[in-house]
């Protein structure tokens, strides 16, 4: 008997150049490229993952990075069942945007599960991160993952955690 399959929309948001597209690509295609291409608008990918009693087809909306010129378009978040917020472990400036992003997301999607991805763990020696700050997010119900799109570390785990919390 085939497992039932449900489709869910998941959005990946975060400041520009933190590796959102690389994380999605690592998760969907299991590949990584050093070349940087900025995302304009949104890039959509899909991947099916097996959960305990069902399959979940994630439609991954990789939304363009936010900066001082480009803010997050709320309409892209509409209908999402889960949100991933990605920041760069080597750029403290990106940490400062976490709260603002969470607030923006909560305005549109107050109850959806969220995970925080602190990317570029392969450059851990260059990280300028206060671990205590991360623990605070975890205590607020936002799981934190130290990921590396380059090595693939914790990427699958982060997506699966979000998928399970969606169910």
């Amino acid at each position: 008997m085939t497992m039932p399959r449900i489709s869910k929309k998941v959005c990946m948001v975060g400041p520009f150049a933190v590796g959102k597209t690389s994380l999605v690509r690592r998760f969907v295609e299991s590949i990584f490229s050093d070349k940087y291409h900025t995302t304009i608008g949104v890039k959509i990918s899909k991947k099916v993952i097996d959960l305990d009693e069902a399959q979940m087809q994630l439609m991954l909306w990789d939304i363009e990075g936010v900066d001082v010129f480009t803010d997050l378009r709320p309409s892209y978040l509409r209908g999402a069942a889960g949100v991933m917020i990605a920041v760069d472990g080597t750029r403290p400036a990106t940490f400062k945007q976490i709260d603002r992003l969470i607030e923006l997301v909560n305005q549109q999607l107050p109850d959806v599960p969220k995970v925080l991805l602190v990317n570029k763990f392969d450059l851990k020696s260059e990280w300028k991160l206060e671990e205590q700050a991360l623990e605070e997010y975890a205590s607020r119900g936002i799981p934190v993952f130290r990921t590396s799109a380059k090595t693939g570390e914790a990427v699958e785990e982060a997506f699966e955690t979000l998928a399970k919390s969606i169910v």
Partner: protein, 555 residues
């Protein structure tokens, strides 16, 4: 029935009537009829159960409710669905038994329709493919980098709906999609999400009226139409220009679909199975309209038809002439072969000329007369006649030919006679159906060559320049006369060529084929042979073995 709550036609129970304070009519009836009436009413009501009373009026009630509005149908639909589902689950064979008489003809009809469509489609494709226009389209399709079928469709259709997607408006997730058979599509789920993103982008980026959505995207000859309705969007891709009637049809299908799936769309949580039933509605949206073909008489390829007709006639006439020629050729060969005073050595045919090599006896009619007798109609008959001076040509009698013998020098003549006798007593045999010497005959041939050389030397002394070595080819009785004649000639000529290449003079060797001759020997291997005769005018050849013994020779 306990606790019965009997009701009067007025709708009140008896007790209520009794206690009604201001119902004078009822009070009057009570005074006039007394307690017997009440008892009678109670008895009447208790005789009928509720079920019976409902059953008595149920059909009329359903009829009345159905004629009034559709509420009853809507109310009963889920109950009936569950009942049918339950019934099929419990006893699937029952529904099979009931449905098979209906489904059988339907399936046959569907298959027949599909086959008919396929034949028509094939016919159309063949027409297009084999025409100049088809070739032109093929080149265009190749240059445009699209498939031929797709290009043909673009040229023959006014419009065609290639793909229809039903999209959940809020999430952008695909609810269901269908695609036409001739279309190559990308992942409809990604298309669905991307369309929603584009809609969101447009709505965010431009000052659109509240609730207004993107309704059309055009790329080349492809147009993507988007119809928003409630919490879903119907997106369909078309090529060509879709008319208002077709657009109305699609909108109608979409509205019906929305009515049927209102709850499913509103409560969509990611499970698309609920929308499998939307397949038929979406397929109904895959409309297409063909360009009206030009049917004027000028379009008919009369010239091509005429050319084909003439070609056909020419082929038939050519076949007829060919048959006549073949019959004529066989008649001529037969006539030449059956001339008593002539012997057909060989013949060949080139275009309209037949050339025959023949040996003619001195008493034979002139060749010109022979040609006139045969009366060739289609061929120019040429005879290459060589007159023989040593009597009648009769192969059967040739071996026993006795000619007057002048007195030769005894020693040479004896040698010649003996050698000639040995040569004539030996035949060369061939493999079946070929001009290849059999294994043993190759050795025989070598001994014959040396004997023939000796004979030639002796003949030069006895009668210089008058020796004739006659190589006669035969075939077995299997096969047609003409084929056998040709094969026997081929065998004779092969041996002649071998003799010449082994040093014998080409002027002395004559070869011809005699086909099959019934000499009373049934052995087929024996019949496939070449016999060699040595002729020297004025010399009678004795075939007895005593001649060989004179020379100490063995076969």
């Amino acid at each position: 029935m306990t606790g019965i709550s009997a009701k009067e036609p007025s709708g009140l129970t008896v007790d209520q009537i009794d206690n009604a304070p201001d119902n004078e009519y009822i009070r009057l009836r009570k005074l006039l009829l007394g307690p017997e009436y009440e008892q009678a009413i109670k008895d009447y009501i208790s005789r009928q159960s509720d079920a019976e009373r409902v059953a008595a009026v149920l059909s009329q009630a359903i009829e009345a409710a159905s004629s009034r509005d559709t509420a009853l149908g809507k109310a009963l639909a889920p109950v009936l669905n569950k009942a049918i589902h339950e019934s099929i689950s419990r006893n699937p064979s029952q529904i099979t038994t009931v449905m098979s008489p209906i489904m059988g003809p339907s399936i046959r009809k569907a298959v027949a329709t599909a086959l008919s469509d396929m034949v028509q489609s094939l016919n159309k494709v063949l027409e297009q493919s084999l025409s100049i226009r088809g070739l032109f389209w093929r080149i265009k399709a190749w240059r445009a980098g699209v498939s031929y079928g797709r290009y043909v469709m673009s040229q023959t259709l006014r419009f065609a709906v290639e793909q229809v997607l039903l999209v959940h408006r809020e999430t952008g997730l695909l609810l269901h999609s269908v695609v036409s058979e001739t279309t190559d599509t990308k992942d409809p789920e990604l298309v669905s999400s991307m369309l929603t993103a584009i809609q969101d982008f447009v709505a965010d980026s431009f000052d659109t009226a509240s609730g207004a959505d993107l309704d059309k995207v055009q790329v080349g000859d492809l147009t993507l139409h988007l119809i928003s309705g409630g919490n879903s969007v119907l997106a369909f891709a078309t090529r060509g220009t879709i008319g208002p009637a077709a657009m109305e049809q699609i909108i109608g299908h979409y509205e019906t679909l929305q009515q049927e799936f209102t709850e499913e769309i509103a409560g969509f949580s990611g499970n698309r199975d609920a929308f499998n039933g939307a397949e038929d509605h979406l397929k109904s949206c895959l409309l297409s309209e063909q360009l009206v073909p030009k049917t004027s008489r000028q379009q008919r390829p009369w010239l091509a038809i005429a050319v084909l007709f003439m070609l056909g006639l020419a082929l038939v006439y050519n076949g007829y002439l060919g048959t006549l020629r073949t019959l004529e050729y066989e008649r001529i060969v037969e006539a030449l072969s059956s001339q008593g005073d002539y012997m057909l050595i060989s013949h060949r045919i080139e275009d309209e000329h037949i050339t025959a090599q023949m040996l003619r006896s001195v008493s034979g009619i002139p060749p010109e007369q022979l040609i006139r007798n045969i009366e060739p109609a289609f061929y120019d008959l040429q005879l290459d006649v060589r007159a023989l001076t040593f009597g009648e040509i009769d192969v059967d009698k040739l071996n026993a030919l006795e000619l007057p013998t002048p007195a030769p020098e005894p020693t040479l003549l004896e040698k010649f006679n003996a050698l000639a006798g040995l040569i004539q007593s030996q035949s060369l045999y061939f493999e079946k159906g070929t001009a290849n010497l059999s294994g043993q005959s190759i050795e025989t041939f070598q001994t014959l060559v040396s004997k023939l050389k000796n004979v030639s030397e002796i003949a030069e002394v006895l009668k210089p320049g008058q020796l004739q070595i006659m190589v006669q080819g035969y075939s077995d009785r299997v096969g047609s006369r003409i084929n056998n004649l040709a094969l026997s000639k081929e065998r004779a000529e092969h041996v002649r060529d071998m003799l010449i290449s082994n040093g014998l003079s080409a002027d002395t060797v004559i070869a011809w084929g005699l086909g099959y001759r019934d000499l009373g020997v049934e052995d087929l291997e024996w019949q496939r042979r070449v016999a060699i005769q040595v002729l020297l005018p004025g010399v009678s050849i004795n075939l007895s073995n005593s001649n060989a013994s004179k020379l100490g020779m063995q076969r």
